[in-house]
Every structure is written in C-alpha cells, then in structure tokens.
C-alpha cells in the first residue's frame, strides 16, 4: 500500500535531505546488512516513488522528484560493497560532505580496471571480468565460455590465453 504522506512531511524531508547522509536517507544503521538496506529502499519507494504521487500539486511533485532521486542515489551507493566502502571512507573523514559523485567513483573504477591491463577492448574487458566472476562462483565452464568470448575480441591477448589454459586444466583434472 502506498503510504499517505502529508504535504508538510514531504516539505520537511525535502528541506533537510541535503544534510542527510545515505544511511540517514534510507533510515538504516551504518552497519546494516544488505537485506536491511534493500528493505529500507523498498519502504522508501512505497512512500516517495513519483508514481505514487502523480496527482499531487506541481510544487509537491518537484519535491517528490528530488527526494526519490536522492533515495535511489543512496541505494545505488549502499547496495554495492565497493561503492559503500568508498562512501564509508568519505564519512569517516569528518567532512560536511554527505554525497559521493557516482560518476567519479565509476571513472576511478574504470581506471583501476584499465590499470590491471585486463584487455584492450570494451568487450574483451567485459568478458574477461565475467570470466573471473564465473570462476569465483565456481562455474569453471562458464568462465571458459566467457574467456573464449573475450578471445574473439582480442585474439592475441596473452593474459586471456594463459587464463584459458589454466581453466581448461582445472576442467580436465
């Protein structure tokens, strides 16, 4: 059920949202587990998703829009362990800053991936990283498939070839 919100409540939340950190926006404790964060996000969506406020007045609609975008932003950071760690580090710095720019975070991650020389083409990198994930999940066959895909984009990538050789050995043993 969509929860009924008083306009005053929406206005008040919108006024303070810029000062709230992502944990406060979702109303979870900083150490909260992932499932708690998910539930909190769902709860926040029930209250603030724009779909539930289509008929509200224009000024309220703008506030809802702003709030809901901040809620997804908070969730996008906190549901991902890597981003969440970066965010926790930011909060630990005792700054006033409560937001972390997603774009910069991702640019840094892309850079890190590049630094690891995991391929020279977007698809090569993508399938190589998927192969690594499959391997971590114990899906060696999947990893082999992904590496084969990666190699179709980068025929001469020695790293890919080595890895494939290694995985094939694992499969036969």
């Amino acid at each position: 059920m969509a929860q009924h919100l008083e306009p005053a409540e929406i206005k008040a939340f919108s006024r303070i949202i810029d000062e709230l950190n992502y944990y406060e926006i979702l109303e979870v404790k900083p150490g909260a587990e992932r499932t708690k964060i998910r539930d909190a996000f769902h709860q926040a969506a029930r209250r603030f998703h724009p779909d539930g406020h289509r008929n509200s007045a224009e000024d309220l609609h703008k506030l809802i829009d702003r709030i809901s975008k901040r809620i997804t932003e908070a969730y996008t950071i906190l549901r991902n362990p890597r981003r969440r760690q970066a965010y926790d580090e930011l909060l630990a710095k005792d700054t006033e800053e409560v937001r972390i720019p997603l774009a910069e975070l991702e640019a840094a991650a892309e850079k890190a991936a590049d630094d690891a020389h995991q391929g020279t083409t977007p698809n090569g990198r993508r399938y190589f990283s998927m192969a690594n994930n499959s391997e971590q999940q114990g899906d060696i066959k999947g990893a082999v498939r992904n590496l084969q895909m990666a190699l179709t984009y980068e025929r001469d990538n020695e790293l890919f070839k080595e890895k494939l050789e290694e995985l094939r050995k694992q499969l036969t043993s």
């Binding site: 969509a2 539930g52 997804t72 774009a103 020279t120």
Partner: protein
C-alpha cells in the same frame, strides 16, 4: 468512476492490448477477428487509406513494396546503423535516409517517419480497446524492450502521442511480464524474465517483495528475435531452390515474401512437431516458362542446426544480467518466458538447461506483457497505488570528452529515477558557449555508443578560463528518458533539454502530424557543431604559444581536491567552417597510450590553408606555419592529423620529447599536399618516431610527413 486505461504491447511482429478494470481480472482485448494478437503490419492502399493487422499482413505477398512490417526494428535508429543496413538488404519496402541520418519509409508517394508507422499500429490497438469499453481511453502504458535506448523510447512515446494516446508510461516488457506474474500474490521471490520476441531479446532479473517489483539487472540484444529464426529458414529454403533450379529467390520480392511467410509458419510448426513438411508452389518460372515449386521436409535436427547459435547468443546475454545482479541459478525462484518464439520446445528446453529449472508453464508468452502493462496503467491512475515498480536504466549514460572517448555518468543497471551532477569549467577566457555530446552505451570510445544528442549552453556569466563554473545535471526519469540541464550556479541561468535523436520529431512536428493526419514531409532541424569536452589540465601542461582568442566551445570538469584528472591539453581552432583543430586529450589511464595531439583540417575539396576562415589566431598560425609546445620530458606524444569529412583520413604519429621542453610543429603546404614536421628546438632535429600510412580515400589528398623527419631520435 474509475478511468479507463489500457496496456499495449507494441511488438515487432504482433501487438496486443489489455485492460485491468478495478475489481476484475486483467484481460486481453480481442480484435475484430476475435484474435488476441494483431500483426504489427501496415498496408498502404492505392487510394491513400491503410489497413493494419491481419488484413495488412496478407498483402505482404501481393504487394510487398507497400506493406510495412517489423517497423520496431527501425524505430529510433540512425540510418547508418548496422541494423538499418541489414533491414535495407532484406525488407521489401522502401527505406530511405531522412534529415539528420534519420530513417524514413517511402511508400507510394509518401515519406513517413517510423513513429508515424508505429502510431498507425497503436491507433489500431486503441480502436480495438474502444470497441470493448464505454467512453474514452484516458491513458495507456506502452511497453518497449528493456534494452531500448533513449532514442528508441522517445520515438515510441512520440508514436503514442501521434496515435492520440495519453502515454502514462513507457514500460519495459520484462518488467511488465513480472508484474503480471506477481501482481496481488504477495510473493517474496527472485525471478528471471526471458523475453525472446519477434525482433528483440531481453533478460531481466527481478526481486518481488510483496507490492514492490525491483529490477536487479537487465540486459538485451535489440536485434535478435524470432525474425532471425525465420531468416535462417528462408536461407535454408532459398539455398535449396538455388541447388534445385539455379534461381535465387532473394532477388524476387514477391517470392521472397512468400518464403518469409512460409518460413514463419514452418517455425511455428516446430512448436508442435519434430518434422515439418512444406510445399510452396509456383515460386518462379524456368526459361521455358514452367512453374517451379519447392517441397520437402525439415526435421528438428536440421532446424536446431539452423537456429542453435541464435539461442546460444541469448545465454551470453543472460550471463551478463546474472552477473550484474550478482546471482547464480540457485538464487532464482522462477523463470518466466515471454514472446512467441519461447513456445518452441527447443527454446524452452535450452532455457531449462541453462537455468537448471523448469520455466513457469502457466503463463501465456504472447499476452503476459500487455496484461502487465494494463495492470500498471490502472495502478498509475488510481488514487491509492498498490504496486511499485523500481526499474533500472539498461545502458550507461556517457558524456563525450576529448580524444574520442566517452566518460561514464550513470552506469547501466542503476535504479531510476536518478540524477547526477558534474561540475565543469570553461576552457577559454571569456568563452560564451559550451556544448555537450551525450551518449548511451557500454564502450569508452564515443563512436561505438549511440549518440543521444548534442546540447549547447550559453548565457552564463563569462570569465577567465577555469574560473567559470557550470553544473551539468544528468537525469533519468521513471520512463527511462534522459534529460540534461546545464546551469550557472552563480546566476541560476539554466537551459535544459530532453535529448532527442537528431532525427526525432519535435513537439511541434508531432502536433503538425496529428493535425494533418499523415504528413508527407517531416523535416527536422538540428544544430550541428563540433563539441569537445576536455578534462582539466593539471601539472603536465603543454602550452601552445598561439592560441585562439575565443573560438572553441569547450568545457572542462571543475577540478576538485582529490581529482584524479591528468594531463589535458587543448588548442582548439575549430568552430570555423572547414576549420583547423589542434587539440590534446587527457593522458594516462584514459588513453591506451599517450597524450594525443590532434590536428584536424577540414577543407571542402582540398587542403588549402588560405581557405581557412580569417580568424586572427588561425592566420597567425598559418603565417608562421608553426606552433610551439612545451613538452613533458619522457612523455610520448601522439599526433593525429585529419583531413576531409571521414574519420579514415587520419594519420597517427608519435614522438618522444626527450629531455627537451620546446617542440615546434611546422605545417607546410606544398604541391604534394601538407607537410607536417615536429621539431625539437634545442637539438634542432626532427623527433618524429613513427608514422602510419595515411588513408585518404575520400578526398584523394596526399598528406605526408616530410621524409627527413622520419629518422628516429638517437
């Protein structure tokens, strides 16, 4: 009284409309032939009127040139895209280039946009619904493949508007299917929706938590579907015909369309049988005028061999989505199959094998999307909404930066609605305009992505370079549609745009089409200009001694305290018709190799430096025919030289500055073309280390490095 709203599944091959009235089971509304699905085919009659649906589909054989099908494969695409090229090769109706690389359909004497064609199908669906309800249709949810980009979504929304529908939402097909499956059941489940349609494939992984439907990840291929299965059978039959009769039916539109219809029928037969007998009479005539036919059987083994690689392709996409969602097969509580081709046991069994569980058997793959759309339409218009769809953006939103790269702004699979702000600064003193180029896609190379549009911003308070701050706000709304706003935070001056494909239709044009019925000529105008976004220069500075006063329209991200931005350089002399551009791009990890110095010359016809626009800075450059740089020791520089309109006309060279800091770039015009020379002042020797062949096919210009420069340093 509750408002009447509908859900429309606008498919590549077939469309379906459904309604979800309060207190009643949501249901599909049948057409006049009492069929739940209506072919998405439009036939243009000689008298100017049209037929839509089965009535139109029969004309595919009799009058292929005037029968438009599979328009969804073309909507929102650029004319130069591979998908449009493929379609042009096999479709029997006229596909032409419209303004700004758009696609237009030419039928009889009319030229129509794809949005208008789709609007004809949507109008038909609306009329079907009107036959079942009293009063007006107040609003509609229209579904699109989850992997549709912004251009395709906008074009679909335009189509709805042209059809006279109040489009409540553009909804992703797999999300709609999940909603139809889980609505009102109080589930706590994770499901995968495997949606293989006529022309597109999507996979979405959702988490259903009672009334909340959260998409965890989505992936897709917008050019993979049942049509491709048909094509394989067509090829099989056409090859047989060549073998038997030495005649290629692909060159005869009528025969080809008959093969196509038969192939579709053969494919459908494989839903029930393991062997299909076919007999297609009178496909061609031999030299003596005898009628030639083809008959035989295809067994399941042959059929499997024809299409198995297509099915395997879908699982690559599934791998991607599962990985993005961070799930394995064991985490999934259910598999929902959507789309006609999933009726094939071959597809079902493959899906079962891949996910290691049986797909849900009680869901109608043809109707489930329309039903989900109807449920959402009803939810959006009722006062007390009881379902919440939390969807994601399927593609990474990017902004073009120098060096032909595109930087991530909002990653694929980020929940929507979302907004991200990035701060930029100007590159030039007292620069008056900045331009942005926005892309969607998964490549860091701008050209490999779909360009959503460009956007110029002016009216901000000018100042010295680096001192002006411009905030650019990227927003994706609940329809998945992208909006970009640029703002001067000092003055509050704002400009915003919903990015529209340059071939898209403006509100005025939509209005015009709606008023005119069907417009013949849709012309759009868009500003074309060059855009360069350059990252903020940091300590590694290459300074060009001759610098344009005011020409370029560039933008730099505003450096923040721990900004990782590396070297960036730019002397940009474009913004001249047939301009000359010299720029350097960010170095370090953003490029595979080294900083790039680019030199572009775009004369009309030939390279004549005198022809360049009389910008004082350019004249200065030409007078001296040289530019000086301060190089960074031990950093390799890469040179790009371009001429003419094609990006093929490019030369790359790199050099090592060595210990010296001063480099001179010399441009000489000779009878043979341009000569480019890079000199290291102090050592007075050329430092060009390597050059690759020039590709000057388009303009026939002969650009070369002067020979004496090709020595390697030390």
């Amino acid at each position: 009284m509750a408002k009447t709203t509908i859900g429309i599944d606008l498919g590549t091959s077939n469309s379906c409309v459904a309604i979800a009235s309060e207190g009643e089971e949501p249901c599909v509304l049948n057409n006049a032939r009492d069929e739940s699905i209506t072919p998405s085919v439009v036939y243009f009659k000689e008298d100017g009127s049209i037929d839509v649906g089965m009535q139109a589909k029969v004309n595919v054989i009799h009058d292929p040139a005037n029968t438009v099908y599979s328009a969804k494969r073309l909507i929102g695409r650029y004319f130069f895209s591979d998908e449009v090229k493929k379609a042009k090769a096999v479709y029997s109706y006229g596909i032409e280039e419209g303004p700004d690389h758009s696609v237009r359909i030419k039928i009889r004497d009319e030229v129509l946009s794809l949005a208008e064609i789709s609007a004809m199908v949507l109008r038909e669906m609306k009329q079907i619904a009107e036959g079942h309800v009293e009063g007006d249709i107040e609003g509609a949810v229209i579904t699109v493949p989850a992997f549709f980009n912004d251009n395709q979504r906008q074009a679909t929304r335009d189509a709805g508007q042209i059809a006279g529908l109040n489009v409540l939402r553009i909804l992703n097909e797999p999300t709609a299917a999940a909603l139809a499956y889980g609505f009102g059941k109080d589930l706590d489940q994770r499901v995968a929706v495997y949606d293989l349609g006529g022309g597109t494939f999507d996979i979405s992984i959702l988490e259903i938590n009672n009334d909340v439907f959260e998409v965890l990840a989505t992936a897709g291929d917008t050019y993979l579907g049942g049509d491709d299965f048909d094509d394989r059978i067509i090829d099989f039959l056409a090859d047989r015909f060549v073998a038997e009769h030495k005649i290629n039916l692909r060159n005869d539109p009528n025969a080809y369309e008959r093969l196509k219809l038969q192939s579709e029928a053969i494919k459908k037969e494989f839903s029930k049988n393991d062997e299909v007998t076919y007999s297609i009479m009178d496909l061609a005539r031999d030299e003596a005028g005898h009628s030639l036919s083809i008959e035989g059987t295809i067994n399941i083994k042959e059929f499997t061999a024809l299409v198995m690689d297509l099915i395997q392709r879908t699982f690559k996409v599934c791998d991607e989505a599962m990985q993005q969602a961070g799930l394995t097969n064991r985490d999934l509580d259910g598999i929902i199959l959507v789309g006609g081709p999933t009726r094939l046991p071959l597809v079902r069994n493959s899906v079962q094998e891949y996910f290691q569980q049986d797909p849900k058997a009680d869901i109608d793959p043809d109707k489930v999307v329309a039903v989900g759309a109807a449920i959402h339409a009803a939810a959006l218009t009722c006062d007390n909404q009881d379902t919440h769809l939390l969807d994601v953006t399927p593609l990474t939103l990017r902004i073009g930066v120098a060096g032909g790269l595109a930087e991530t702004i909002i990653e694929a699979n980020t929940p929507i609605p979302i907004e991200q702000t990035r701060a930029f600064t100007t590159f030039q003193d007292y620069q008056e305009t900045v331009k942005l180029r926005v892309y969607q896609g998964e490549s860091r190379h701008a050209e490999d992505n779909e360009m959503l549009g460009e956007f110029a911003f002016s009216g901000f308070e000018t100042g010295r370079r680096g001192e002006v701050r411009i905030d650019v706000i990227f927003s994706i709304n609940t329809d998945g549609i992208v909006e970009v706003t640029a703002m001067d935070p000092a003055t509050g001056v704002k400009a915003s745009t919903e990015l529209t494909l340059s071939s898209g239709l403006s509100q005025d044009e939509i209005q015009h089409i709606m008023e005119e019925g069907r417009a013949n000529d849709v012309v759009t105008e868009t500003a074309i200009g060059s855009v360069n976004l350059v990252k903020m220069p940091s300590s590694h500075v290459l300074e060009a001694t001759s610098q344009a006063n005011q020409a370029p329209e560039e933008l730099l991200p505003l450096p923040s305290a721990d900004d990782q931005l590396e070297l960036a350089e730019d002397l940009d002399l474009d913004d001249l018709s047939g301009g000359l551009e010299l720029d350097t791009a960010p170095a370090g990890p953003d490029l595979d190799a080294a900083p790039v110095v680019g030199l572009e010359a775009e004369p009309a016809g030939g390279i004549e430096l005198d022809d360049f626009a009389p910008d004082p800075a350019i004249e200065a450059l030409i007078d001296e025919n040289s530019v000086d740089f301060e190089g960074d020791p031990d950093e390799a520089l890469e040179l790009e030289l371009e001429t003419g309109p094609s990006s093929n006309n490019r030369m790359d060279a790199s050099l090592i500055a060595g210990d010296e800091e001063e480099l001179e770039l010399e441009i000489d015009e000779s009878d043979d073309g341009l000569e480019l020379e890079l000199d290291d002042h102090d050592q007075d020797q050329a430092v060009i280390q390597e050059s690759r062949d020039l590709l000057f096919g388009d303009v026939g210009e002969d650009l070369s490095l002067s020979e004496e420069d090709e020595e390697k340093p030390e």
